[in-house]
């Protein structure tokens, strides 16, 4: 009975963490470029009363062992890489990636970080920066007298200056891909950093054969959270939590019965 109590407690804890994850997904349902995470669970070790495959007699083997599991634990939360819907905003510096890539930005500490959120702005020197002021890398500077900014699907940034008909190219945006984007480290602020699990960033030219996707100007990628799936997951988490609490109650009542044997 005590084993059942702790096993059920591990189930309740796992569902609590599941609910925490679902809450984070739902809270970020309108965050640009957010990718939801899905928790994966693993069963814990098993207690072997009879090891499977042990011999019954010298000639025969027991067909099945006697193993009791000890519960569940959350093993990992992987980032789901499906693309969110595009929201057409019309802003010349709102960029969305159609495909697998990430924008590369440089943090104030000098480290590189990656993001799917393409809501860029200009800082006081005309550099293209994200909402925190981290500059897009490789850096692109827009002249202050530019009339309009055009970003092609291959990342080429060109501006039209006054009294000029021909647009001038000022730079090209490159996108990064990873061998295992599910292993990126979420550091908050819509940013990811590479880890040993994700592999190093591989920079490529958008729209080409590098497989990094293409850039759509004037669009923002919405969060890929499906509110309906999260609600369904929430119902499952809640009912599993209740089911585990029933197990605790049943084990408690059985324990009470044992104590009532002596009179």
């Amino acid at each position: 009975m005590i084993r059942a109590l702790y096993t059920a407690a591990s189930g309740m804890l796992a569902q609590q963490m599941n609910l925490d994850n679902i809450a984070n997904n739902l809270a970020n349902a309108s965050t640009t470029g957010f990718h939801n995470r899905r928790l994966q669970f693993q069963d814990l070790i098993y207690q072997n009363t009879v090891v499977p495959g042990s011999a019954a007699t010298q000639q025969t083997t027991l067909p099945a062992g006697l193993q009791v599991g000890l519960g569940v634990r959350p093993a990992s939360s992987e980032i789901i890489q499906t693309e969110g819907n595009f929201d057409a905003t019309g802003n010349p510096l709102d960029l969305a990636i159609q495909g697998n890539g990430f924008f590369q930005v440089t943090l104030p500490t000098g480290d590189l970080a990656y993001t799917r959120s393409g809501a860029f702005h200009l800082d006081q020197n005309g550099n293209v920066v994200d909402e925190q002021g981290d500059s897009l890398t490789p850096n692109i500077t827009i002249p202050s007298n530019a009339l309009s900014i055009t970003v092609g699907t291959d990342g080429t940034v060109s501006v039209t200056l006054p009294a000029q008909i021909q647009a001038q190219q000022v730079g090209a945006i490159q996108l990064a891909t990873f061998a295992n984007p599910g292993g990126l480290n979420s550091v908050g602020q819509n940013l990811f950093q590479p880890t040993t699990a994700s592999g190093d960033a591989i920079l490529g030219t958008p729209g080409g054969s590098d497989g990094v996707g293409s850039i759509q100007q004037g669009n923002l990628e919405e969060s890929n959270v499906s509110v309906v799936s999260e609600f369904v997951n929430m119902i499952i988490a809640q009912r599993s939590y209740e089911a585990n609490s029933r197990v605790i109650r049943a084990a408690d009542e059985m324990f009470q019965t044992v104590n009532g044997l002596t009179q």
């Binding site: 005590i2 109590l5 702790y6 059920a8 407690a9 309740m12 804890l13 609590q16 605790i248 408690d252 324990f255 009470q256 044992v258 104590n259 002596t262």
Partner: protein
């Protein structure tokens, strides 16, 4: 009285003491930086092994008593508060504070500034920073305080002090002293590496309500078992021994 009676009583008393620990955990569910304690039991041999036992002392019981309680050093979840002097450590480091009884360590980062603009805990104990090899209190000038992830405090961009954050080797006996402070054996602290100090957040208690509830159930049922054993031993053994045998 045979020793079975005392063993059952010792078990019952141990469960009552463990209940105190569990209750204290649950009561501190909203204390920031609180680390839950888990009681553990140990066996106490009534007689030494191999000793020649006299016919009158045939104690074969290993009493199960409370051996102590272990502090669960896992970190609690972080909650944003927005107060510039609220700090939380992401990792297993501790802040160092100077109390009247000596150097103590704490995880409770809800600091404030006293009248002399020194950084203190809620009890008024000074928070210490490192200056070379010495530990000194921190005086914060007026202005916007910002704390970087490695514990450096700066005001309006100017460096003020670096918080002294320590770590302990796993298994070091960190004892809670009360008021969110911990005592550790002298010399066991090491300067923390790779700690992440978050400004404007507080670490909530790391108690686990589910584990607390399950512990309560288990303690209650085991205490019940001990009390049944006590009543059986009393009714069926001790009482006949004291009442019926002398009547012979």
């Amino acid at each position: 009285m045979d020793s079975g009676y005392y063993v059952a009583y010792a078990g019952f008393a141990a469960r009552m003491q463990a209940l105190d620990v569990v209750a204290s955990n649950l009561a501190n569910a909203s204390t920031s930086g609180y680390k839950s304690q888990s009681p553990f039991y140990r066996a106490l041999a009534a007689a030494q092994e191999g000793e020649v036992l006299s016919p009158l002392n045939q104690a074969v019981n290993k009493f199960g008593i409370l051996g102590g309680s272990r502090v669960d050093v896992r970190s609690g979840s972080l909650q944003p508060t927005g107060v510039a002097t609220d700090l939380a450590i992401e990792g297993d480091g501790y802040f160092t504070v100077q109390t009247m009884a000596g150097i103590r360590y704490t995880r409770n980062g809800s600091f404030q500034l006293n009248a002399a603009r020194q950084l203190t805990t809620q009890d008024g104990d000074l928070v210490l920073a490192e200056q070379g090899t010495k530990l000194v209190p921190i005086t914060v000038p007026t202005g916007a305080v910002s704390v970087s992830p490695d514990g450096t405090i700066s005001v309006d961009g100017a460096l003020v002090a670096k918080l002294h954050i320590v770590q302990f080797a796993p298994g070091t006996e960190i004892e809670p002293e009360g008021n969110s402070k911990y005592i550790a054996p002298a010399g066991s602290e090491r300067t923390a590496v790779g700690e992440n100090v978050r400004q404007g957040m507080l670490e909530s208690s790391n108690i686990n309500p589910v584990a607390g509830a399950v512990d309560l159930i288990v303690l209650q049922r085991q205490a019940d078992m001990m009390s049944r054993a006590l009543s059986v031993l009393n009714t069926d053994f001790n009482r006949p021994a004291t009442l019926d045998v002398p009547r012979v």
